[in-house]
């Protein structure tokens, strides 16, 4: 792997610089673009390390899906999501904590330089055997994880929306005088109570 030292150094440098951009950019759009550059550099590193399938997954899932999802959410934010000024004490404590973590990791990794063999094991077939062999349980659990994530995201979103059926029936029951409360967040519970009492009136 040492014959590809220059591309590796370049990809590492760009990945680090864009990571600094991610955590320092004030506009979330700039941070998302920096995250895109970062994930592409990491994919290049995977490719150099002969991990073709992981590089493909990185480009498809990270650069393709996650970054675009971030872009959509940033576009939905009020004022483009620009945050207020971060207090200096918080910046200082974050830098100190990051430096401490870096020192701890460096101390742990300083045991010696690893070297890779020149003919790497790999290939899609070997990864398939590994995923459906020793790693079958975590691999199958990701299916349940994705399903739960989808249901959870829909539930988080739906909980805040006024129910269209409740809104219509309450408007019919109370001649529209109370219907505007359904537009306020958290009004669905009240609205449901009104609906249950509606026919009795």
């Amino acid at each position: 792997m040492n014959n590809a030292f220059l591309p590796i150094a370049l990809a590492c440098a760009v990945a680090l610089v864009s990571a600094v951009g991610v955590i320092l950019a004030r506009r979330p759009v700039h941070a998302v673009v920096a995250l895109l550059a970062h994930s592409l550099c990491v994919a290049a590193l995977f490719l150099i390390m002969a991990a073709d399938l992981v590089a493909l997954g990185q480009v498809l899932i990270y650069s393709g899906a996650i970054v675009v999802l971030f872009l959509f959410v940033v576009a939905l934010l009020p004022h483009g999501g620009i945050e207020s000024v971060v207090p200096t004490g918080r910046v200082v404590s974050a830098v100190v904590a990051g430096a401490a973590l870096l020192a701890a990791l460096a101390a742990g990794l300083a045991v010696g330089a690893p070297t890779a063999p020149e003919n790497p094991a790999g290939g899609v077939e070997a990864i398939g055997r590994s995923l459906f062999g020793p790693l079958i349980v975590p691999f199958e659990l990701t299916a349940a994880l994705l399903l739960v994530a989808i249901i959870g995201a829909v539930a988080i979103w739906r909980r805040q929306e006024p129910e269209p059926g409740a809104k219509a029936s309450s408007r019919a029951a109370s001649e529209g005088s109370l219907a505007h409360t359904a537009d306020a967040p958290g009004a669905t519970g009240r609205q449901r109570l009104l609906d249950e009492g509606g026919p009795a009136r």
Binding site: V20, I23, A25, A51, Y62, A113, F139, A149
Partner: protein, 100 residues
């Protein structure tokens, strides 16, 4: 310094940068992006270890971590949007009702 040490050093720096970002930012979107940085650092180490040991299990674990990152992004962004819709602000410090 050989290439493997360089990748290890990059990964450690990425992890430190991501943790500093999570601690520093107030915008939940930026915090999520810092978490993605840390997941990328972990993936780099996994793939490098697979390369050094000559086993592919590290690459399979990196693929599983990719799926995990996707699920985390979906839930995190849903929560962030719910927060924005509830209080029209981009500050995680504003959500403090549960504080005792």
């Amino acid at each position: 310094m050989n290439a493997e040490s360089l990748i290890l050093a990059t990964s450690a720096s990425l992890m430190a940068l991501g943790s500093a970002g999570v601690l520093m930012r107030r915008n939940p979107i930026s915090m999520l992006m810092s978490i993605e940085l840390m997941l990328n650092a972990g993936n780099l180490v996994l793939v490098l270890a697979a390369r050094i040991r000559g086993l592919v299990d590290g690459q399979s674990a990196a693929l599983i971590v990719l799926v995990l990152a996707a699920a985390e992004a979906v839930i995190g962004l849903g929560l962030a949007l719910a927060l924005f819709r509830d209080r029209e602000t981009v500050d995680v410090d504003a959500a403090a009702e549960v504080r005792g």
